[in-house]
Every structure is written in structure tokens, then in C-alpha cells.
């Protein structure tokens, strides 16, 4: 740009617009190409992520249907602590209802919501509970995440697996400090209370509504 040409404003506008246009087209093209190229891989990753949690709460061999395809949309459900619609995954074995995977929220964690996924068999057995997202104090309340729990053999969250709802009475769904059956780590009882409460409610919901939940026509 050795010679300084004098442009009028509209001419300058045109010139800049065109230059920018060329670059934008060039790079958007590049980007769009990259997007097309990576899309399959991204979709696969997303799927894998979903399956990871589901596999943790529901053993992969316990059903034979296409779990991700057999879903049901739930409206916001206060029993599950949910203020937003959620998805229920329905596991079937040989066409018979086998288990439900559902989302729940414990709204009274120490620092806000604790999001959970639960697997519950048609008989009310809990196959697993996992924390998907929480903001509990690291090092104090975060032992509900199995990865953060110091007890690697028997993470705190694993004590739900195998319990059956009607068999474990309503009064027992409490931490030991409140005369229930669940362990807690000292100095942090708010978090386990919240989780236990949420799991309790969710199981109760699943058990009382299991008929409708399996029967309802879902959107695949």
C-alpha cells in the first residue's frame, strides 16, 4: 500500500466489504468442510458419552433392546426434582419390561442442584445411581462422585445398588445420623441427605408409575 489512494466513504465501504467477504467465504468454507468431516465422529462421541452413564447404572447385559431408541419424554416432574422435561430410557428383555433409566435432581445439595441418573428394574431393585453433575464442595461433599471418593473399593454412591424400594421402608431412607440406613462422611451430611432424599423419591416415583412408564407410547 505504498501509494495512498483517497477513497470516498461509499467506495471504501464497498472495498472493505468485498475484502471481508472474500475472506469470510474462504474461511467459512474451510470451517464448513471441517464440520462435515468431523460430524460423524462427534455424534459418535456424544452417543458414547450417554451410554457411559447408562452402562454404569444398568448392566449392559440386562436388556436386549435398543435402549437409546426406546425413550419416553417426561414433562417436568416434581417427584424427580425436575423443573424441565426429561427423558426416560426403557430397557426390555425379550420385549418384557426390564428396567428404567431416569434422571433426577436433588435440589437441596450444599451448593445447589445435584443431578443424578438412576437405573431401576421393573421390580423396584436399584441397579445403580450416578451423579452426573454437582457443585458440592471439592474434598468435602464431592465423595458422591465415585471418582472423587477416597474409598475406591466401595464408593459411597454404590450403597444404593441392589436395594429394593418397597422392601427398604420409607423411614429407612435417611442417613445414619438421622436414624436411617445410609452412611455419610463426617462433616458433610448435607450432601448425602440430599442425595438419599432424591433417590428415595425417584425410586418411589418409578415404582408407583412403572406401568404407565413402560406402557406409554414413546417417541423413538
Amino acid at each position: 500500500m505504498s501509494e495512498a489512494k483517497v477513497y470516498t466513504a461509499p467506495a471504501m465501504a464497498l472495498r472493505t466489504a468485498l475484502t471481508l467477504l472474500i475472506f469470510v467465504v474462504l474461511f467459512t468454507g474451510l470451517l464448513a468442510g471441517a464440520y462435515q468431516w468431523t460430524r460423524p465422529a462427534i455424534e459418535a462421541s456424544l452417543l458414547a458419552e450417554k451410554m457411559k452413564f447408562i452402562n454404569e447404572v444398568l448392566p449392559a447385559g440386562s436388556y436386549d433392546n435398543e435402549l437409546l431408541a426406546d425413550t419416553l419424554s417426561l414433562p417436568p416432574t416434581p417427584e424427580l426434582g425436575l423443573k424441565q422435561p426429561s427423558t426416560v430410557y426403557r430397557a426390555r428383555r425379550g420385549g418384557e419390561p426390564a428396567a428404567l433409566v431416569l434422571e433426577a435432581v436433588a435440589p437441596d445439595g450444599y451448593s445447589g442442584d445435584i443431578r443424578l441418573v438412576l437405573g431401576i428394574t421393573a421390580d423396584g431393585d436399584i441397579t445403580g445411581v450416578r451423579v452426573v453433575q454437582h457443585k458440592e464442595t471439592p474434598g468435602l461433599g464431592d465423595y458422591i462422585e465415585p471418582g472423587k471418593d477416597k474409598n475406591k473399593e466401595q464408593p459411597w454412591i454404590s450403597q444404593f445398588a441392589g436395594l429394593n424400594y418397597p422392601q427398604v421402608a420409607d423411614a429407612e431412607w435417611k442417613v445414619k445420623k438421622d436414624k436411617g440406613r445410609f452412611d455419610y462422611r463426617s462433616g458433610a451430611t448435607v450432601t448425602p441427605r440430599a442425595v438419599v432424599g432424591a433417590v428415595h423419591k425417584a425410586v418411589r416415583f418409578a415404582v408407583t408409575h412403572r406401568q404407565e412408564l413402560f406402557a406409554q407410547e414413546g417417541k423413538p
Binding site: 469470510v24 474461511f27 467459512t28 470451517l31 464440520y35 451448593s111 445447589g112
Partner: protein
């Protein structure tokens, strides 16, 4: 109404962009040596950030989502922001030499302030509506300006202290920012009710 209030408190104090979200640090460190410059940068950033959140909401909701082009967010947001900044700069330079004197050298820096891109992206990840986005943007900007000015106040004072030589300058400023961030942790939980 209370929802909006808590959103604002959250954005300004509890989830302060700089001290908690750790965004916008470069200008935070760069233009906090003197109070006057901090005022200038704060004002400029508040203006641009609020505008940017509004603009990106519109772009996202009326251009990108309808066409399924979410992957173009970064690109379109940042180009828009850069253009807003440059336009603001030119307009200010022409219309208000006074303001230009104050804000002049900071305006271009705003483009590279990651808070300006980060806040719109956070808005989207929280799926805020237009009012919420705007409020969150403004709140973040106010939070940014607030800590910038407070930081500048402390830095001016620490400037006169007998800080050990290796810590003079940026190092002690970092430590100060760390202690500020520690103090701000005290706000934790105040955005709930």
C-alpha cells in the same frame, strides 16, 4: 423480579468473571496499574460487553439456530465483536476527543478480552433468554469493572510497599489477585435464596 436480581448479584459478585470464572485477565492485569486507566477500561468494557451480549443473542437466535449453524458461533460472534469495537473506537475518536483521550488505547484491547466472547458463550450454555442474557452481560461487565477498579486501588498502594525484588511488579499483582479471589469466595452462595 427476584430472579433477575439474583442473576445480577450472581454475575457481579458470586460468579465474578475475573476472579471466579477467570476470564478477561489480560486487561485485568494490564490496565490496573493506575486508577484512571482502570476507570476508562471498565467503562469501555461495560459498553462493549453489554452490546456484544445483545448482538450475539440476536445472531444466535435469528441466524445460526434457524439454519443449524451452531458451529459458526465462535466465528460469527468474534467477528461481530471486533467490528463493534472498531466502530465504537472510530465513532468515539471522531465525536468525543475527551473520551478518546480516556479510553483511546484500551478500546482495541477489548477485542482480545476473552470475557467479551466468553460471556455470550456462557449465556448460550445456560440457555438464557434475551433479557437474561443482557442482564448477565451487563452484570459481568459491571463485575469486571468493579474488580478492575478495586484492584487498581490496591495496586497503587502496593506500588509503594517494599515488596521483595523478585515479586515486584506482575508477581505481587498476581498474588494480590489471588487474595482478592479468595475474598470473593466469601460471596459463594449469596445468589441463592
Amino acid at each position: 423480579m427476584a430472579h433477575y436480581l439474583f442473576l445480577l448479584i450472581g454475575a457481579v459478585l458470586v460468579n465474578n468473571v475475573v476472579l471466579v470464572k477467570i476470564l478477561g485477565l489480560c486487561p485485568f492485569m494490564g490496565v490496573s496499574k493506575k486508577l484512571e486507566t482502570a476507570y476508562g477500561m471498565g467503562a469501555a468494557t461495560t459498553f462493549v460487553l453489554t452490546l456484544a451480549t445483545g448482538a450475539s443473542f440476536i445472531i444466535d437466535h435469528y441466524l445460526l439456530i434457524p439454519f443449524g449453524l451452531e458451529y459458526l458461533r465462535t466465528l460469527s460472534f468474534i467477528v461481530t465483536i471486533a467490528a463493534i469495537v472498531q466502530l465504537t473506537e472510530m465513532v468515539i475518536a471522531k465525536t468525543s476527543p475527551m473520551l478518546q483521550q480516556v479510553l483511546g488505547i484500551y478500546l482495541p484491547l477489548i477485542t482480545t478480552n476473552c470475557a467479551v466472547l466468553g460471556v455470550p458463550l456462557i449465556n448460550i450454555s445456560h440457555s438464557y433468554g434475551f433479557m437474561e442474557s443482557l442482564l448477565f452481560g451487563a452484570g459481568s461487565a459491571i463485575g469486571f469493572s468493579l474488580v478492575l477498579v478495586l484492584f487498581a486501588g490496591i495496586r497503587e498502594r502496593v506500588d509503594g510497599a517494599e515488596v521483595p525484588l523478585p515479586f515486584k511488579g506482575a508477581a505481587i499483582a498476581m498474588v494480590t489477585a489471588g487474595l482478592m479471589s479468595l475474598a470473593f469466595m466469601g460471596f459463594a452462595g449469596l445468589d441463592r435464596y
